[in-house]
Symmetry: C2
Amino acid sequence: MYPELNPRLICNLERLGLTENEAKAYAGLVSLKEATAREVHELTGVPRAKVYEILKSLAKKGYVEIRQGSPSYFRAVDPKLVIGEIKDELINCAIESLAQLNELSYEFPTTSPVWCIQSDWGIRNRIREILAGVKDELIIFATNPGFLREFEKELKHIEKNCKLIIIVDELEKFRKLPFEFRETGSAFRDFIRNLVIDGVRYDEECFLIADGKESIAVHRAGNKREAVVIRLPVICYLQKMIYNWLLEGKFVMDF
Amino acid sequence: MYPELNPRLICNLERLGLTENEAKAYAGLVSLKEATAREVHELTGVPRAKVYEILKSLAKKGYVEIRQGSPSYFRAVDPKLVIGEIKDELINCAIESLAQLNELSYEFPTTSPVWCIQSDWGIRNRIREILAGVKDELIIFATNPGFLREFEKELKHIEKNCKLIIIVDELEKFRKLPFEFRETGSAFRDFIRNLVIDGVRYDEECFLIADGKESIAVHRAGNKREAVVIRLPVICYLQKMIYNWLLEGKFVMDF
DNA sequence: TCTATTGTTACTTTAGGGGTAACAAATGTA
DNA sequence: TACATTTGTTACCCCTAAAGTAACAATAGA
């Protein structure tokens, strides 16, 4: 209907704080250069009756200039200035927020031993954090190379300074990655592949154990990814034993 | 009621895209470090029944981590990471918007000769633009030093390379500024001071004429500021004549 | 077994934004 | 001048997201 308007642009402008109609009107005005309310309405689909108050509110923010008359004419302020201004304001807002939040939390302890993380970037952050803290030894179990690829640099660094053990379900899948891999037995491989809980197939698994005292388990069911961070030494130790078992066929409890 | 929560912080977080309750819950969690839903509710005033879905939505975004159980415990992800992530996303959004808007407007001509600007920063932008474009001569009439102070640097630069005439209603007010001023006659001064239109006193005035072909008039009524940009050569010329008249007492029309 | 707390559901209320219809004012035209 | 058209404004309605409320089952603790 209004093919001129890039919906992604409108969405972006909304994310930056404009309403849908404000975004449409501003974008429309930018492409019209200079226009009457009616022209903005016709290009953007914003109801004619609304165009006036919307352009007025944009003018109040300084994003639009008005030439009074009948008809009045409207003109968009240079996007470079407008977007720059919005960006600066949001950045200041972020800086101030951070300062205020830091006042609330003087130190930032990770008190509890078990936490669940439900967003992709949250998981990535945590993994990065854990990788950065590895001192002696890192054990990884993975069924998917994607994650190893993402942290290749960090892992290479660990490989140089610590002991790095990567256990995978199938060597072939990891062929392209520059690490030494160890393969789990076929029984476990089949088990993992066919794992279904409550009707959901868990098609991606990754465990990390750092220095035998902190572990993170990432799993994906369908397109939802989740991670559990565990700082219980006993559990980590147990996990270590289990990997030993998977790998060597022996299960030794020595604590 | 809930003195712990800085309302400015909540407002900032809302500006960054969180809802009011999300902002409260996150800020509350940051200061509590680790807490149950009830504790978050008690500190922040978010209805207890709502805390769960709100924290879940925060967890989905990766801003909060959850430890399942009864009661479940919640933990805020480090504000540095959270705010950093939000900031990055908004900056990307701004960059993309700008690119998309630039696609719409290849050149950015200022076609029409009269435009009205209704926001403070819009006015400032325009003035800066005009000042940057002065080639030969700049005439200013001002009743308030604030604006001159703001653009002191730009004006000094113009003074060096062009002819700069600053006319003021009262020398005394501008004493502290490092420019040469010329004073208007007392009749005009009184006129300006007592100017009332539709019951509104115009208590601040500033006119700029750049190279006799572009002018901007800024006026303030109460706390509302507005500016009119005029590019009509004839009008600018007339204005110039009028200032001449104000200053020297002679009015010469020679076009 | 009883009680208190937790976690969930289904509702109401509210406010902001979007959309529509109608009309007065301004403009243009026969 | 009378009429038609367009412009600018107002008063509505509708919808949705979010906030707030009440009630209840599940869980945990005494």
